[in-house]
Amino acid sequence: MESLKNMKLSQLKPGQTGIIKEFTDLEMSIKLMEMGCLPGESICVERFAPLGDPMAITVSGYQLSLRKLEASTIILHK
């Protein structure tokens, strides 16, 4: 899945999985890491809200919802 290289979490489609590489926003990253989104952790996109934003993801065994803007600060690697 070459196409997922260095993608943002917000670009994934429902059902797709990625592994967190890094964050582009320090302040946001603190909150995200506290919620279990750590580099190396795998994330699966579950669904988007009916109006396309926010999105629901599964990370370290539970579901988290976040806005696309927030998700775009998470960089994934394959």
């Binding site: 320090l26 302040e27 946001m28 990253s29 603190i30 909150k31 995200l32 890491m33 506290e34 919620m35 279990g36 750590l38 580099p39 579950e46 669904r47 809200a49 009916p50 109006l51 396309g52 934003d53 926010p54 629901a56 370290s60 065994g61 539970y62 579901q63 988290l64 919802s65 976040l66 806005r67 927030e70």
Partner: protein, 704 residues
Amino acid sequence: MSGDLKVALVGNPNTGKSTLFNVLTGLNQKIGNFPGVTVDKKTGTCKLPDGRSALIVDLPGTYSLYPKSKDESIVFEILADKSNPVHPDIIVIVSDASNLKRNLLLYTQVADLKIPVLIALNMMDLTKKAGTHIDIDSLSLKLGVQIVPVSARQGENIDKLKEAISFTSVVPLQHDTIEVKELAPGLISKIQEELHLDKPYTALQFAHQHENLRFLSKQESDRVEEIEQEFSFHSQKAQAAETIARYHFINGLLSDTVKYKAGVEAETFSNKIDRVLTHKIWGFFIFFAVLFLIFQSIFAWSEYPMSLIEALFVWLTELVHKLLPAGVFTALLTDGILAGLSGVLVFIPQIAILFAFISILEDTGYMSRVTFMMDKIMRKVGLNGKSVVPMIGGLACAVPAIMSTRNIGNWKDRMITIMVTPLVSCSARLPIYTVLISLVVPDKKVAGLINMQGIALMAMYVLSITMAIFVAWVMKYLLKAREKGYFIMELPVYRLPRWDNVLLTMYEKVKTFVFEAGKIIIAISIVLWVLATYGPPGKHAEIEKKYRSAAYVNKYNTEELNLHRSSEMLETSYAGVIGKVIEPVIKPLGYDWKIGIALITSFAAREVFVGTMATIYSVSNDDAHISSVGEKMHQARNPETGLPVFTLASSFSLMVFYAFAMQCMSTLAVVYRETKSWKWPLIQFVYMTALAYIASLIVYNLLK
């Protein structure tokens, strides 16, 4: 309330912390406010097996000691301030066993504060169902703390938890988690030394949070700031490094104590429900069906108990009149105090019903999905996904609706919701709309089916909701945010509601309203009674004399006499005087001084408008027979011009005025209680009155 031992419950949101608190304390609980924030401070007592009694404090749920909101900042403030009245001797960390990794982050932070701690491991049933095995003994040994698996919902192992609390040593025995001093070498020791702190982690937290810790003196806070400069401390980088170090520690800890079931995960039950409940079409359909059910229930189910409460007070008033001699004291008791009390208690059914629903929505996990679905639309106008429920609740009554805004975590979103909810047309406006519409809108059908009066009524509702959304949008730019508008939110798994919790919530909310907002409502009722009863000296006695004179007694029967008398009394009362004083101000809106009196008396509650109209217009017709309010208003004429008072223009102007004006003391009282300051109810009163005035002026001049 006091105890031999103070125990604080600390944990992530959705871990069953509040359920555990309810199980431990039962009805021995007290709800207050933490000073300075509108977050419920729940304390309760619990008997321990060794005979001691423990004071249990339920602290706000948080994912970390680094607060993301004002509510969350309470947690560290209490844990770090030894002089705080609820500073705990023991901390119970309530953890969700099915989500142990994330829950342990908060544990490691709290453990490093070196207050005696133990872990209550909740939701073991979910963990077992998922096939996860946790070696509790080994984990307990590694951390150096007692771990008690409990099921707060089923009340399992609560005795063991109480036992563990009583066995907990007064000295902290937990092992160190991470090397705290390495996170900020030099800085931590220096702060410890200067502020005489024995715990390195407390010193580090001070470095991060000193600006917001209210128990630190200005000098102490400034000194911490200087030390930070000296060591060029970067708060965010240090926090990120700390979180990574803590998760590293937790991963090591869990690697040989927790075994997850191998194999591909089947789609979870919650996911299946979510596919329907957050579906593109069905999701909204179901949500609006739920809202409709809530709205209908508040209206329909509360009608009977509300009429019972009102009937009870009518009976009580009559009883007092029978038992006590007529006079000022009796009048004060019946028309001031009893009327005020009735005005408070009549809200109980609506509050109880709305909170039963809200508690079910929160408990099942559906409220998070509502937020998830509505976030995009609501954010555009400065509101929150969770604002939908208070705004729909506002269609029935703004009082319970404003109380329900506590569920909105973000301060700015919550304030905007509180400020605009009273604009949504509540059920008390309905009698005003119907009386005025039936006066001026013909009862005719357009195109054979659509009733003109129905359209007019609907237009009032549409107008009120549109205005609420517009004001919210304006306030989005006016109000400064206190916290960053994150949306990062856990979607908890769906669970069945806990009925005892539903009942407890209803009880708590009713109690809070009656005791806190009730005081203010009764006080204002008495003031309004004085205004409507007393007038400048002399006038009232004259009227009494006039109506006792033979000419009057012979002309009218007793009922008519009483009506005429009370009408003249009201006219010469202080309320009447004020009505006349404000006449020049309200004349441009198409109102006379009689409507001015109604504007003043209906500040108690909007529905009082109709009653006041009935009293005040009882003398305006010459044949003096007792007619319905509608007829009286229809016949009302302007004495100067002889034209009807209630024209299309003045009636719509009046309806628009009532739609937008803050004509409800109960709402103001509840806004005061929810914001803990008179500033917000005052702003609300001023902006709504100004809005109502301008809108009515425009409507009157357009229709004139």
